[in-house]
C-alpha cells in the first residue's frame, strides 16, 4: 500500500543521506521524495511516498524515522485531509501545426500550461495530484513523449485540523 509520510527535519548536512540510508538499511521502498525548506529557516519538510506491504511494516518505518535525532516530526498523512501536489514537465513532439492546436485544447481542462516551444516540440507544465498527472500523461502519450520529469508528491494537511504528530507510542495491535 502507498502511504504519504510527511517529515520535518533539521536542515543540516547529511540529513537526506540519513533518511534514505535508513530506508535502504530497512528495505523500505521509496516511490518518491520531495524536500525543501519549511516555515522556519533551520527546518526542512520532506514528503515521502512509500510502498509498504502491511501495517506492521508501516509502523516500523515511522518508528525508525522517529528514532533519527535530526527528525523532529513524523506523520503518516495518507488518511488525513490533505493537499497533495506534484509537478510534471512533459516534452511532447509536434510534427505539424495541427498537433500543436490539438495539444493546446487537450491540456486546457488540466489547467496545464505550455512553458517552452520549439519547432518540433512543446514542453507542458502540469501541477496536481498524481492521478491527474497520470491521466494527462496517458492522453499525451500518443503524440510521442520525448522527455518527462516528475517532482514527486509534496503535501500538507488541510486547514487547522488537529495534527496527529507523534508516532503512535503503542503497537498497532493495541
Amino acid at each position: 500500500m502507498k502511504r504519504i509520510i510527511s517529515l520535518t527535519v533539521n536542515n543540516r548536512a547529511g540529513v537526506m543521506n540519513r533518511i534514505t540510508g535508513l530506508f535502504m538499511k530497512r528495505q523500505y521502498n521509496i516511490e518518491s521524495i520531495t524536500v525543501g525548506h519549511a516555515e522556519t529557516p533551520d527546518i526542512s519538510r520532506m514528503t515521502f511516498v512509500v510502498n509498504v506491504e502491511c501495517e506492521t511494516k508501516l509502523e516500523q518505518v515511522i518508528k525508525q524515522l522517529h528514532k533519527q535525532i535530526d527528525v523532529l516530526k513524523v506523520q503518516d498523512i495518507t488518511d488525513q485531509k490533505i493537499v497533495a501536489r506534484e509537478l510534471a514537465l512533459i516534452k511532447v513532439m509536434t510534427q505539424t501545426p495541427q498537433t500543436r492546436g490539438e495539444l493546446f485544447s487537450l491540456i486546457e481542462p488540466f489547467r496545464a500550461t505550455v512553458v517552452d516551444v520549439s519547432t518540433s516540440s512543446l514542453t507542458i507544465e502540469v501541477t496536481g495530484n498524481p492521478d491527474k498527472i497520470d491521466a494527462l500523461i496517458e492522453l499525451l502519450r500518443p503524440f510521442g513523449i520525448k522527455e518527462l520529469s516528475r517532482t514527486g508528491v509534496t503535501a500538507l494537511t488541510r486547514g487547522t485540523q488537529k495534527l496527529e504528530t507523534e508516532t503512535k507510542p503503542f503497537s498497532i495491535i493495541n
Binding site: 527535519v9 533539521n10 548536512a13 547529511g14 543521506n17 540519513r18 540510508g21 535508513l22 538499511k25 506492521t56 509502523e59 516500523q60 518508528k63 525508525q64 522517529h66 528514532k67 533519527q68 535525532i69 535530526d70 527528525v71 523532529l72 508516532t167 507510542p169 503503542f170 503497537s171 498497532i172 495491535i173 493495541n174
Partner: protein, 574 residues
C-alpha cells in the same frame, strides 16, 4: 572599583581563546572522562598534542579495533560512555567493526576521529575517508564539526545521546583545521535536542494493563534482557519476580541481572539456552519482556515463539516494540521506572505453584549436560572450574562461538555487569581487548577473558597492553584447533563437510605469551585444570592458559536454525 576590576579580569581569563583540540579535551574533562582508548595519526595530531600532559589517561592499544573493543568493555562494566580516539582514513575504518558491535549491543560510546582539513575534504586527500557516511547506519548519531564554535555543544550532545535512552555509539569527526582554529571555550549546561526525547516514565494505563494481565495469567514468565542491566533495575526485577512469583528467563545479555542460583530464576533461553527456559517461553500464557529486543538467536522460528502468550514488551526504544514479535501490551519506558511502577501498582502477592513446579521439573529432567570421557579436558569443565574458583563474581569477557556459549551456560553469574560479550554482531576478537576496558572500569574484580583459539588470534596484539599496564587479566583459551561453532554447524547441517573450519597449524600460545612477557601455561586434563587454574586465578599478574579441550565437542542443547524454541536438539546426553 577594585572589586569590579577583579571580576572583569576573571571573565577575561575565562574567555581566553583555545584551539578546537584544547576545547575538545576540556569538554571531555567536563564529561568526567577518565580514560581514552586510542591510536594517533596525522589528522589526529592536534588532538594528541592537546592531550599531552593532561590528566585524562590514554591507553595506546596496538590496533584501533583493540581500542574500540576496550572502550566497549569499559562502557559495559561501568555503564559510562567509553571514549575512543583515532585518526582519519584507516584509523577510522579500523573502528567500524567495534562501532557496529556497540550499536547492536546498545553500548554507550563517544568516538572521536581525526579528519583531513576542511579545505581538502572531498579531494581524496591522504588518509581521507568519508567516515560520516560509513558510520551513519551503525551509529546512534554522528557529527562532523564544521565550525570550532560548535565543538562544546557537539561534545555535550554526543555524551547525552550516547548515554541516555537506549544507549549507543556516537561519532564525532574532527577536521584537522577545526582542531587548530581557535574559539572561546564555553561549555553548555544543557542540551537542546527537540528531535530526541526518550520516554523514561511509562504510561500508567499500560502498567495497569500489565497488572491485569498478571491477574489473569496461569503461566506467566519474565524475559530479562540487557535493558534491565542498563537501567540498573536488577534489584527491582528480583523484587518483582519475588512478589509476583513469576519465573525469570534471561537473554545472553541479561545474564547476571538475576543471580544464577535464585529460586525464581529458570536460566538462559535462546539457541543454546537451557530446555526449561525455552519451554517456559513456549508454554507461557503471559510473556513479560523487559529490555530484550527479541533477537532471532533468542526466539528461534518466530512462528513458534510464545504461541499462546499475551505479550508484554517493556522497552525504552519504541521501535523495538512490535518489530519482531506481535505485542499486546506495549510499555515504552526505562526498565527501572517500569518495574517501580509495576511494584507500586501491585496490591497483592501472586503465586503460581504449579507452573513454577512444572518448570523446576524441566530443570531437573533436562539439565545442561556433557560427558566426561577418559582423561580428556572438556571445555565445559574448564568453565565450571573457573566459576567455582571465582564464585560467579568475576568479570567474564568472551569472543563469539562455542566458548562464548559454554561461558554463558556454565559460568553462573551472580551479579549484573559481569558478562562482557559480543552478542548482536558476534565479533570474533572481542574478548581480549574488551577485558582491558572491563578491568579498567572495575579493577577490584577478577577479570577472566574466555576466548577461542581462532578469535584470540584476531586481536592478540593487545597482550602488549596487558603487559604494559600489568593488568591481572586471565586469558583462558578454549583451544580446539578449529573455528568451533562453524565446525559444529558443518557437522550438524552440512554433512560434516568441514570447509575451512579446521586450523591444525597455530602458534604455540604459551610461547606467544612469553614473547609478550606474560606467563603462559598449558593444560590438557581435568586434573591439571583443577590444579593449574587455581594457581592462575590466585596469581597477581596476567596469565594466559592454553586449554587443549576435546576438539569435536559440541554446544548443546540447541535450537537448530529454522526450528522453534520447543524443538531443541541435544537436550539429553546423546
Amino acid at each position: 572599583m577594585a572589586a569590579n576590576l577583579k571580576v572583569e579580569n576573571k571573565t577575561e581569563t575565562a574567555k581566553k581563546k583555545m584551539t578546537g583540540a584544547e576545547i575538545l579535551i576540556e569538554s571531555l574533562k567536563r564529561e568526567n572522562v577518565e580514560v581514552i582508548f586510542g591510536y594517533p595519526g596525522g589528522a589526529a595530531l592536534p588532538i594528541y598534542d592537546a592531550l599531552y600532559g593532561k590528566s585524562i589517561k590514554h591507553i595506546l592499544t596496538r590496533h584501533e579495533q583493540g581500542a574500540i573493543h576496550a572502550a566497549e568493555g569499559y562502557a559495559r562494566v561501568s555503564g559510562k560512555p567509553g571514549v575512543v580516539l583515532a585518526t582519519s582514513g584507516p584509523g577510522a575504518t579500523n573502528l567500524v567493526t567495534g562501532i557496529a558491535d556497540a550499536m547492536l549491543d546498545s553500548l554507550p560510546l563517544v568516538i572521536l576521529t581525526g579528519q583531513v582539513g576542511t579545505n581538502v575534504i572531498g579531494t581524496d586527500a591522504f588518509q581521507e575517508t568519508d567516515v560520516i557516511s560509513i558510520t551513519m547506519p551503525i551509529t546512534k548519531h554522528n557529527y562532523q564539526v564544521r565550525d570550532v564554535k560548535d565543538m562544546p555543544r557537539i561534545v555535550k550532545e554526543a555524551f547525552h545521546i550516547a548515554s541516555t535512552g537506549r544507549p549507543g555509539p556516537v561519532l564525532i569527526d574532527i577536521p584537522k583545521d577545526i582542531a587548530t582554529s581557535e574559539a572561546v571555550f564555553e561549555y553548555p549546561e544543557t542540551v537542546h535536542l527537540p528531535g530526541y526525547q526518550p520516554t523514561i516514565v511509562p504510561n500508567q494505563m499500560q502498567i495497569k494493563k500489565v497488572v491485569a494481565a498478571i491477574k489473569k495469567a496461569k503461566k506467566p514468565v519474565i524475559l530479562c534482557g540487557a535493558g534491565v542491566i542498563f537501567a540498573k533495575a536488577h534489584e527491582e526485577l528480583r523484587k518483582f519476580s519475588e512478589v509476583t512469583n513469576i519465573p525469570v528467563v534471561s537473554t545472553l545479555h541479561g545474564l547476571g541481572a538475576m543471580p544464577y542460583n535464585h529460586e525464581q530464576y529458570v536460566g538462559m533461553a535462546g539457541m543454546h539456552g537451557i530446555y526449561a527456559a525455552n519451554m517456559a517461553l513456549y508454554e507461557c500464557d503471559l510473556l513479560i519482556n523487559i529490555g530484550s529486543r527479541f533477537d532471532d538467536r533468542l526466539t528461534g522460528n518466530l512462528k513458534h515463539f510464545a504461541p499462546k502468550a499475551t505479550v508484554v514488551h517493556i522497552d525504552i526504544d519504541p521501535a523495538e516494540i512490535g518489530k519482531n514479535v506481535e505485542t499486546h501490551i506495549p510499555v515504552v519506558g526505562d526498565a527501572k521506572e517500569a518495574l517501580k511502577a509495576l511494584l507500586n501498582e501491585i496490591e497483592q502477592s501472586f503465586s503460581f505453584p504449579e507452573w513454577n513446579a512444572h518448570l523446576k521439573e524441566y530443570q531437573k529432567e533436562y539439565p545442561l549436560w556433557y560427558k566426561q570421557e577418559g582423561d580428556e579436558l572438556k571445555p565445559q569443565k574448564v568453565i565450571e572450574i573457573v566459576h567455582e574458583l571465582t564464585k560467579g563474581e568475576a568479570i567474564v569477557t568472551t569472543d563469539v562461538g562455542q566458548h562464548q556459549m559454554w561461558a554463558a551456560q556454565y559460568y553462573g553469574f551472580k551479579e549484573p555487569n559481569l558478562l562482557v560479550t559480543s552478542g548482536g554482531l558476534g565479533t570474533m576478537g572481542f574478548g581480549v581487548p574488551a577485558a582491558i576496558g572491563a578491568h579498567m572500569a572495575n579493577p577490584g574484580r577478577p577479570c577472566i577473558s574466555i576466548v577461542g583459539d581462532a578469535g584470540f588470534q584476531m586481536t592478540n596484539q593487545e597482550l602488549s597492553i596487558i603487559k604494559q599496564y600489568n593488568l591481572p587479566i586471565k586469558i583462558i583459551i578454549i583451544n580446539n584447533f578449529s573455528l568451533g561453532m562453524v565446525r559444529q554447524w558443518q557437522q550438524l547441517f552440512y554433512e560434516e563437510r568441514y570447509s575451512e573450519s579446521l586450523v591444525p597449524v597455530q602458534p604455540d600460545f604459551v610461547k606467544l605469551a612469553d614473547a609478550f612477557g606474560i606467563e603462559g601455561v598449558r593444560i590438557e586434563s581435568p586434573a591439571e585444570a583443577e590444579k593449574v587454574l587455581k594457581k592462575v586465578i590466585e596469581s597477581d599478574g596476567p596469565v594466559l592458559v592454553d586449554c587443549r579441550v576435546t576438539a569435536d565437542e559440541n554446544v548443546y542443547p540447541m535450537i537448530a536454525p529454522g526450528s522453534g524454541s520447543h524443538e531443541m536438539i541435544g537436550v539429553k546426553p546423546l
